[in-house]
């Protein structure tokens, strides 16, 4: 008895996570749970008394995390057993009751018995319902998770004209199922884990066994295991914790909220990381060119897709170098501009009080301000901002003679070009680099732009995403993969899977089957 009280004291004072077995004393165990959760109001404990049998039964669940109807159904099932079945009326001891509930009355799909107190919290907070029976040092845990979640809806950030309208939600199980529906193959493996010392966030790695590269997979798992933080509130946390190079403007992991994009990347041998609580799924390893591809490239015919892809690369270059080249040409290389254009530009700049560089910087900063304001505001007001910003500011600034019309054209073209990059995080890094390049251009002209571009290319080539060179398949050069890098060749030409690491050529399964038939 003394030992028991001591244990009780310990469990009350010490961290509730320290494992201790269940006592079997119902009141004791319930007290432990209540205390562990700080008497939170969403913890629901319901007591029942059997008609014939002695033992008290308690049903414990978290409101909101569980499906109410499910729980009610479960309780009514469990409690009504006595009246409906012959067997039920005979029950008397605690053990018999417990076993009966476990074997017969428990309807939920997933159930298990727990003997450890610490496991109780995990189960409760995952939306399970616990059943404790007086005198039994064991708890029944049934999966009743549910409650209000956002339904699957249309993608908000990665919109496509053609293709699936589904996008991920905040619920990890729904997200996993969305991908599994697209790849009906037993080789699609999902490995769960919990990350975040405080948040205990559900994280899952998904890959296609046999296609995903083992080394990359190993590396990813190691990196995930090394994560030691309190909270994982979004996949962005994981992205920043596992990316190889921290000091780079370029994103080295890809994220998407489109299940078809995840499916496509899994089939290319990449690995997806699902995080509970966010619709954005990470994809690793990421290469530079991935950020300019969209799923729609594969849904449209190859000629259209190729042209649009090339257009995107052009826009990338414009949004990166546009204002810089303009400033460099105006300040250093006037002889490069055709004469009529030069006279035109000169007449526009007549009376503009600022140097071209200051003008460019001013316009770029204004543009960024308008953009940021537009994002943070609710959408109806956001449009007002863009009207005021774009129309009024631009027009008025030109009429007042503070900026030249040509500069407004260059800056707005740059801005619009930056929106064509499908991946928002890549567009962000270009947004930042643009300023650096403009500054260099203002001091060193085209020479500076060339030097900086060289440095950027060198940097890009040095980057790696989980050991895979960032610039692949251009550097290292892979002739086979060129079919789907800058251009998108017809689907029946792409018979070989992209190589992420230096591995032997892997034919696509359909192609292998076809060849097998011929032989």
């Amino acid at each position: 008895m003394a030992a028991q009280t001591k244990e009780k004291k310990q469990s009350q004072t010490a961290d509730s996570n320290i494992s201790s077995p269940l006592s079997g004393n119902l009141e004791d165990d319930l007290q432990h749970i209540r205390q562990g959760l700080g008497n939170s109001m969403d913890l629901i404990i319901r007591h029942f008394k059997m008609i014939n049998a002695d033992p008290q039964v308690a049903v414990i669940y978290m409101e909101g995390l569980t499906d109410k109807e499910f729980v009610d159904d479960f309780i009514s099932h469990a409690m009504s057993f006595q009246s409906v079945s012959e067997e039920g009326r005979k029950l008397s001891t605690s053990q018999e009751v417990f076993h009966y509930i476990k074997e017969k009355a428990l309807t939920p799909g997933k159930s298990q018995s727990l003997t450890d107190r610490s496991g109780l919290f995990e189960a409760l907070l995952s939306g399970n319902t616990l059943v404790l029976v007086e005198g039994v040092p064991e708890a029944l845990s049934g999966d009743t998770s549910g409650g209000e979640v956002r339904p699957v809806s249309e993608a908000g950030t990665q919109v496509s004209i053609r293709g699936s309208k589904e996008s991920f939600t905040e619920t990890i199980s729904v997200n996993i199922s969305l991908v599994r529906r697209r790849i009906k193959n037993p080789d699609l493996w999902v490995e769960p884990m919990k990350l975040g010392a405080v948040t205990q966030t559900n994280v899952a790695i998904m890959y296609i066994h046999g296609i995903a590269d083992e080394d990359v997979l190993k590396k990813l798992k190691e990196k995930l295991k090394e994560i030691r933080v309190d909270s994982i509130l979004e996949s962005g946390y994981i992205e920043q914790l596992i990316e190889g190079t921290v000091y780079t403007p370029f994103p080295t992991l890809y994220n998407t909220e489109r299940p078809d994009s995840v499916a496509g990347n899994l089939l290319d041998g990449r690995i997806a990381v699902f995080v509970d609580g966010t619709p954005f799924v990470l994809i690793a390893p990421a290469t530079f060119f991935m950020f300019f591809h969209t799923v729609e490239d594969y849904y449209q015919r190859f000629d259209i897709s190729t042209l649009i892809r090339l257009l995107r690369f052009l826009c990338f270059l414009i949004s990166m170098f546009g204002p810089a080249i303009f400033v460099a040409a105006l300040n250093f290389h006037q002889e490069m501009i055709p004469t009529p254009l030069l006279i035109n530009l000169a007449s526009q700049r007549e009376g503009v009080p600022f140097p071209a560089f200051v003008e460019a910087l001013m316009m770029e900063v204004t543009f960024e301000i308008i953009r940021e304001a537009g994002i943070r505001l609710p959408s109806p007001i956001g449009q007002t901002v863009s009207i005021i910003g774009g129309l009024v500011l631009g027009q008025a600034a030109v009429q007042a003679g503070i900026v030249s019309p040509a500069m407004v054209i260059v800056v707005s073209l740059t801005g619009i070009s930056s929106f064509t990059t499908p991946a928002f995080n890549m567009a962000l890094s270009v947004r930042f680099l643009r300023f650096v390049i403009v500054i260099v251009a203002a001091f060193m002209g085209l020479y500076g732009i060339a030097i900086l571009a060289l440095m950027l290319v060198a940097h890009l080539c040095s980057l790696r995403s989980l050991g895979v060179p960032y610039m692949s398949p251009l550097g290292p050069f892979d002739p086979q993969a060129q079919k789907d890098t800058l251009i998108r060749s017809p689907i029946h030409f792409m018979k070989i899977r992209p190589r992420l690491a230096d591995k032997s050529i892997a034919r696509k399964k359909a192609d292998k089957d076809r060849q097998g038939n011929q032989a």
Binding site: N331, F332, Q334, T339, I343
Partner: protein
């Protein structure tokens, strides 16, 4: 230790970046864009009189609602011994630094051309501020300064307009060549003769430089491309015009397009044929110490107008017209050739062709080539072809 080395390296790289690069950053509105340069000789002093035509950007037609009453160009005139001296001395007059990279036109004054102009062209090749693709014209019966002062209709910058005039007329009329500074330098250093288009002014400068002269449908003063200035040993020798000039272009294979008015039966010059293709092939051989120039011209044209009642559906009529074309071309070429022989100046560069095929022989005759050239004979072959006769077959005919 390693990071220290690295930071030193980075520092060196960054410092060296500053050493190179474009230190001469200039704002566009601190530059005076020079559109044309004119060079005259100041009599008696040996100095050059350099004229700059500078664009006034705010007054050009490209500006939205240009409301200034300024002239689209300003003229600065400077006297100095050297061209570069004049370029820099101009800073005393100009509000901004002169910027020469966009000079479209170089006008050589007739007085300077007569005395030899090779000296003033050195700077165009030597200085990075000037360009070699600038069009060269020689002022005729006037000085370069006046030519640059006159405003032109349509083109707000006269130098650009004059450059376009020279280009257009050489392309569709074929009497005058469009020559760049680069070509001129090449010809001068090549030692042979060469020709440059002339430019003439009708009217007077005082009216022509006023904006008001453009307010009437026919400008008070106009500038036109006129004839070819023939240079021998870098000095202006004489002018050639009309058929002679076109004949020279024919020998030089510089006819892109031109018009021939052909005789037809009873009516003289009543049929216009637009020559759209012409190719000249030259062979030179020496016989008994005298050169024979085999010139073969292939030309092709479209009949564009007829005022004579010729039956164009008949093949033999066309053949007749072709023969007429050949006759006319031959006449012009022969005239041009004889004029050159008379002047004892091989401005067709026929010597060059001879040098190419027979360098050893050339060495012997090089010294007095012009005299030998003057005694040479011309073997001319012209082959003409009429490709089309337009959208009508029979000529217009009034009922009798």
């Amino acid at each position: 230790m390693k990071t220290k080395h690295l930071s030193v390296l980075v520092l060196f790289v960054l410092l060296s970046l500053n050493l190179a690069g474009c230190w001469n950053s200039r704002e566009l509105n601190e530059l005076a864009i020079v559109s044309g340069i004119g060079i005259d000789r100041v009599m008696d002093t040996g100095k050059l009189r350099v004229t700059f035509q500078v664009v006034n950007p705010s007054a050009t037609t490209t500006t939205q609602g240009a409301s200034t009453n300024q002239s689209p160009i300003s003229i600065y005139t400077v006297n100095d011994r050297t061209v570069f001296g004049a370029l820099r001395r101009a800073s005393k007059q100009a509000t901004r630094q002169l910027f020469f990279a966009h000079a479209q036109l170089l006008v050589i004054g007739e007085s300077l051309a007569e005395g030899g102009m090779k000296d003033v062209l050195d700077i165009f090749e030597r200085s990075h501020e000037l360009r070699l693709n600038t069009t060269v014209l020689v002022s005729r019966d006037t000085d370069a300064e006046s030519i640059l002062k006159v405003l032109l209709p349509q083109e707000s910058v006269p130098s650009i307009g004059l450059g376009k005039k020279a280009e257009n007329t050489s392309k569709v009329w074929g009497e005058t060549p469009q020559v760049s500074v680069f070509e001129t330098i090449k010809e001068i250093t090549g030692g042979g003769g060469f020709t440059i288009s002339g430019v003439r002014m009708l009217g007077n400068v005082e009216e022509g430089q006023k904006k008001a002269s453009l307010e009437q449908t026919k400008a008070e003063t106009s500038i036109l491309i006129s004839g070819q200035a023939v240079f021998n040993k870098g000095k202006l020798m004489n002018w050639i015009d009309g058929p002679e000039a076109r004949g020279a272009q024919w020998i030089l294979d510089k006819i892109y397009e031109t018009n021939l008015n052909l005789d037809s039966g009873d009516q003289a010059k009543a049929i216009a044929v637009n020559v759209v293709f012409s190719k000249t092939k030259i062979k030179v051989e020496m016989r008994d110490g005298l050169p024979i120039f085999h010139i073969r011209i292939n030309e092709e044209g479209n009949l564009n107008e007829t005022q004579s009642a010729v039956n164009l559906s008949q093949n033999h009529e066309i053949r007749k017209l072709e023969a007429e074309m050949e006759k006319l071309t031959k006449k012009e070429v022969q005239e041009a050739f004889q004029a050159a022989q008379k002047a004892e100046c091989d401005y067709f560069n026929l010597g060059n062709e001879f040098k190419r095929v027979n360098p050893a022989e050339w060495k012997k005759v090089e010294k007095d080539w012009n005299q030998i050239f003057a005694k040479g004979t011309l073997e001319l072959q012209v082959h003409a072809f009429i490709r089309a006769t337009g959208m009508r077959v029979t000529p217009l005919k009034a009922p009798e």
